[in-house]
Amino acid sequence: MSCQGNTKSDLSATGGSLSPLRVTNQNGLGICHIEQLHKMLKAKLPGHPDLSRVQLAIAEKKMRDRELTTKKAVRWKNAQGVGGTYIDAGNSCDAFNHLKSQKICPAEADRFEQLTKQNPDHQEKIIETISEYFDSRPNQFMWDFASASAHEGPIVTKLDESFRACSLSPVRVTQLRNHYLAHVYFVKTQLGSRYAGMKASAENLSHLNLAMEGADYLQGKSYLKHLQSILPAAEIGKDAPTSKALAAQITMAAREMQSKENCVMQNMKSFNNLYYCAPPLGKSAVDVINLNSLGLSLREIVNILDGDRDRDKFFTEAFSCSTQKVLIPPQINCRTEDITQMAKDSRTESEFHTKVDQKIEAKLKKGTPIGISSCTRFFTNPNAKTNQVGSNTFTCGQAGSAGYKKGEGSHAVTIIGSRCQNGVKEYLVQNSWGPGCFYDKSFECTKQGGFWAPVSTVINNIRNINYLE
């Protein structure tokens, strides 16, 4: 798209609605839409506060889990039914609507964000924990053993990699994977609130008493006595088969624990390894939390891990900055506009670009950043085109489409400025992958992790835009 003169707007420049702009890096967190919302809120809220992105993500997850049914969650995972070959974690307007009228901590008052600055070992555990909490989304799926493997896919992959790294045989990898799934299934379906006592029993078996053979413990008098104390007599028979199966699995895990699995445990890294860890490893994870004054006992941590409700409570309480929280006012609204539909409704590419640019430019003039759901294909290819004029097909992630790159996907970034450079209009696109410059060589990078790209390139790869008003 051509232009004249040397006009330039940059919301992150001194005096702009995003100044000063914090460079962020999502790292292992699938929160691009939250990174986008973080900037949209900063620009819109009085005083331009720098809110905690981590808290926004966790609060949104909690609200989302409460609202979504399984069916909706599957649609969500498939980018709301569009294409189906790429995956979104969410949409910033959906996130905004979940969080509307909530109070959010500023970044400097966020305990997690502060903790991640202190020590590489702590950082890793904290990021892994938040990542697992945010991305695994167990609440969004109905748990049944047959499909647990599919739902647990990323975790299973991670486990398999850990097991292989420790030179376990393929047979053993399968066994351990099944053990994990069985355990997840058991915890999710059998150890609900109705069996609160059994939950405590299972936690003993699965890690606290690993020195003891699981089967001996389960089949011994102490187990029966414990069961009798917490369950009505009629329930004991019902649970017996499951308990025996669990016993066998725990026995298997306990035997292996002494040798190669110590290596596996070290590689699993997430707090969920407490399920399987021998006490020394479990203790180190607990130490991290205690060291950082979160003041939790091992039992409390286990409770957090055992039930998503408790884990929600843990994360919610971790953000206890009650005196400093920022309220998202109810009168602010978020709008999403379907750019792919605009491509369909346009007769020429020029018309399409002009229509979209007018919308974006009007917002920028008001100091409003525009969140875009875009295809990462254009990051390294100025000629990428995932929108087609006359069609509402967004080809991002579709193998076989022109310029397709394996691993590409829909990614939320934010347009925070525009300029006329040598007769070509460009947008300043702000990413959330740190300050690095790894885009096409023709794109000029900023020190804050943004880059200037031609308007036509950007618009050709936008699925939708989101903004607050």
Binding site: V23, N25, N27, G30, I87, D88, N119, C437
Partner: protein
């Protein structure tokens, strides 16, 4: 002798700066792309080669990158290395660390994007 001199000249051309988090501190230098790395990784090091080797055999899937995760971070985790945040003066960045080798995640993102282009 010549190679020794060239190494010497090159090492002097890179300006080391301390990056830290809490009590952990490490001297990093900037490579030709402007990414901060430990001196041993200026050209190439074990971690760097491990990343290249991984990408030769594997691709990051759409599911790996779900939610717009940084590809550099995902690659680092695939190598069973550690993702860390470090600060230098007021600049903050994320790195991949293993066996005292530290590489800016920007270099890893570049690996992923370049390979799949």
């Amino acid at each position: 002798m010549l190679s020794f001199l060239s190494v010497l000249i090159f090492s002097f051309s890179a300006c080391a700066a301390p990056w830290s988090t809490g009590t952990y501190s490490v001297e990093l230098v900037q490579d030709k792309e402007g990414d901060w790395v430990s001196q041993s990784c200026l050209e190439s090091c074990a971690l760097d080669q491990k990343a290249r080797a991984y990408l030769k055999e594997n691709s990051l899937s759409a599911e790996d990158l779900e939610g717009g995760k940084s590809p550099g971070s995902v690659l680092c985790q695939k190598l069973a290395a550690k993702v860390i945040y470090l600060e230098q003066e007021k600049i903050s960045d994320a790195f991949c660390e293993q066996d005292k080798e530290v590489i800016s995640l920007a270099r890893f993102v570049r690996f992923v994007l370049a390979r799949e282009h």
